[in-house]
């Protein structure tokens, strides 16, 4: 039987609130917080994985708190231009010990505050040293503390391969952040990182996982796979290029997710834009990303390489408007793949429709009762041959537009923060966009 008394002796090593604050604020701009994909079993000790993931709280910015998202250290030797923790920045520094991190995780976990740990770090001293400290932490957590909850570990680029491979045996998910969508931007803004230093470990881990599966070895190897993240808007790459990159990552490296984070200026630099990127662009990228993964779209169908996604329509709507010859579709006979392409009909609704229509022909009223959202869909479907949208094709665009103007003239009164020195607008260290 598992012994609680053994754990009470650790209670001396509680992390200080000040340190927790610094390390959390350094990690909070990382977008990923999902805890899904792992079914790790409890083998005596504490915790298990929950395949669907679990949200434990929500902060006033509307984001979920699932994992304890924290940096091991923000004491960095790199000079990435967009990062407030870069070596020459004047910010408070902190480093947590493996014991402090383990204890914090276990005590938060048993009170059901969190679903697991998301551990990341700045590059302390050198990549190998940092990776080793991260490895010690996750190993300790799994073995000494018998923790079987979710662990997401951020990989350190250029760290030794054997350290990375060993860490992958203990954690559920690993991720290397691509940071910027092209090699050129990376060279400009994050000179110590290169595309190869980020993609190579991802490729190695994917290969290792395949091997692990093929040989049916014991234990687990990254059961929740790999993810990555890139900053949108710090560099000039268009959405078309970004989506092609994501598509390749999904197809060739088998990534589970690509996260996009819109650029927020926290450091003033001549190479970086002064205005934050609109959140809507990030939102449209996520919508398109979903279309790639769950709706059978390809990046080539959605937009040409050099273009951005339209802001006034969602990407599926934009695709439908370009392909009006495919519509309207008859809900009572259309195949599932076609229903999934109707703007406004999601995977759940499409499935419900295919089930329900086996018993009775569906009318628009039936769809409404089944809570299928018809605001956009009504223009693209017929129910039993009846079309209740508009006849005018030009009118359609206006009806579907969200009314958001794609281009905007910069006005002096629009964003007073753009005119202030950054230090007055927001403390620099409290708004990190791209961390390791």
């Amino acid at each position: 039987m598992f012994d609680i008394a053994r754990f009470s002796c650790y209670n001396r090593g509680m992390i200080s609130e000040e340190k927790l604050k610094i390390l959390t604020e350094g990690a909070k701009y990382d977008v990923s917080c999902s805890s899904s994909g792992s079914r790790r079993k409890n083998e005596g000790g504490i915790g298990n994985g929950s395949a669907a993931g679990c949200c434990h709280s929500f902060t006033p910015d509307g984001r979920c708190v699932s994992l304890l998202k924290i940096l091991m250290s923000n004491d960095c030797v790199y000079h990435c231009r967009y990062c407030p923790n870069r070596a020459d920045a004047d910010v408070p520094r902190a480093t947590a010990t493996p014991e402090e991190l383990c204890l914090l995780t276990v005590d938060f976990y048993k009170r059901n505050y969190i679903e697991g740990l998301f551990l990341s770090s700045a590059v302390v001293k050198n990549p190998d040293y940092t990776m080793e400290r991260l490895l010690i932490t996750v190993k300790k957590l799994r073995t000494e503390y018998a923790f079987h909850g979710y662990i997401h570990l951020k990989g350190i680029p250029r760290a030794d391969e054997t350290l990375v491979r060993e860490a992958a045996r203990y954690v559920d998910r690993m991720s290397y952040n691509i940071e910027l969508p092209s090699e050129r931007s990376l060279k400009l803004l994050a000179p110590q990182k290169s595309k190869e230093s980020l993609l190579l470990p991802m490729r190695r881990l994917a290969k290792e996982k395949e091997l692990f599966r093929a040989e049916k070895r014991n234990g687990l190897f990254l059961p929740a796979g790999q993810t990555t993240q890139m900053i949108v808007g710090a560099s000039p790459e268009p959405d078309g290029l970004i989506l092609r990159l994501s598509q390749n990552l999904y197809r060739k490296l088998g990534l589970k997710r690509v996260y996009y984070s819109s650029y927020v200026p926290v450091v003033r630099d001549s190479l970086l834009p002064d205005l934050p990127v609109e959140q809507l662009r990030e939102h449209r990228l996520y919508q398109a990303d979903w279309l790639l993964r769950f709706y059978g779209f390809s990046a080539e169908e959605l937009l040409p390489e050099g273009e951005n996604l339209p802001l006034e329509y969602d990407p599926k709507c934009a695709w439908a408007l370009k392909n009006l010859h495919c519509f309207p579709v008859e809900v009572n006979t259309a195949p599932l793949e076609m229903l999934l392409r109707v703007p406004g009909i999601g995977a759940k609704s499409a499935y419900k429709i295919t089930q329900a229509r086996r018993y009775t022909p569906l009318t628009l009223e039936d769809l409404r009762k089944m809570r299928v959202v018809l605001r956009r869909a009504a223009y693209f479907i017929t129910c039993g041959g009846k079309y209740s949208g508009t006849k005018s094709r030009t009118g359609l665009r206006g009806l579907l537009s969200t009314g958001i103007q794609p281009a905007k003239q910069l006005s002096l009164f629009d964003n007073p923060n753009a005119l202030l020195p950054l230090s007055e607008a927001e403390p620099a260290y409290s708004a990190l966009t791209g961390e390791l």
Partner: protein, 239 residues
């Protein structure tokens, strides 16, 4: 005719057999408001008949008894009636009907089940344990639906080494794990002597919760949608 039941599954199935032949009948628990001139009967559970009905239902639809269990957990006033109309359709059609979503009765049952399931999933995240001086964990909850034992099953798999009590304070019952057995017990109120470090951990958690928020992206409406105010009562980050 309205058949009143005691809230158990056996009681429901007994009443079902009585109510089934009459198209205007209804099943309700004791809170039902009678209309003028309406006839009613109180049904006591009959183990034998309930077993028989259950066996027959399982032949028609292997999943429907688990669905009945979910429906009867619902906090909705007319849950018995929703379950009755759903099962009556199965009995009439002599086959599973859950995919006939254009049917009002199926839709009502399916939405009712979804609400119960959704709340159980939510609370797996929103339950907050307090550590007592003995090391055992205590969590008060007041969910809309009767799901305290479902949470017990979830946390037994997760924290087998920690005895815990999940206390549904509004239904005055608790799911208890003593390290060997998981059981439901009536519980009026509980006095918990907190461990020496409990306050410090709660305060650390509040600090984390404050730090991880991005103040420049305030989205309170979205937050309220995901985490309705009624669940915040027992969460330390909102104290």
């Amino acid at each position: 005719m309205i058949y009143f039941i005691d809230g158990t599954k056996e009681g429901f199935l007994t009443a079902f057999l009585l109510a089934f032949p009459d198209p205007d009948s209804a099943i309700a628990s004791s809170e039902h408001q009678l209309a003028l001139g309406q006839q009613c009967a109180f049904v006591t559970a009959d183990e034998e008949r309930a077993k028989r009905a259950e066996r027959r239902f399982l032949q028609l639809d292997g999943r429907c008894m688990r669905e009945l269990d979910t429906l009867l957990r619902s906090g909705e006033k007319n849950k018995e009636q929703i379950a009755f109309r759903y099962l009556r359709l199965i009995a009439q059609k002599q086959r599973p009907v859950r995919d006939m979503l254009a049917d009002a009765d199926v839709l009502a049952a399916s939405e009712c089940m979804a609400r119960v399931g959704h709340e159980a999933e939510r609370l797996k995240g929103f339950v907050r344990f307090l550590e007592s001086a003995s090391g055992a964990l205590y969590a008060p909850i007041s969910p809309d639906n009767d799901i305290c034992d479902l949470l017990g099953i979830h946390f037994r798999a997760r924290l087998p080494g920690y005895p815990f009590v999940i206390h549904d304070v509004s239904r005055k019952k608790a799911s208890v794990w003593d390290g060997e057995h998981l059981f439901l017990a009536p519980l009026e109120r509980a006095e918990v002597l907190l461990s020496a470090d409990e306050e410090a951990w709660q305060s650390l958690w509040r600090e984390y919760y404050r730090s991880v928020n991005i103040p420049s992206r305030l989205r309170l409406k979205q937050m309220r949608g995901y985490l309705p105010v009624r669940y915040r009562k027992f969460m330390p980050e909102f104290k």
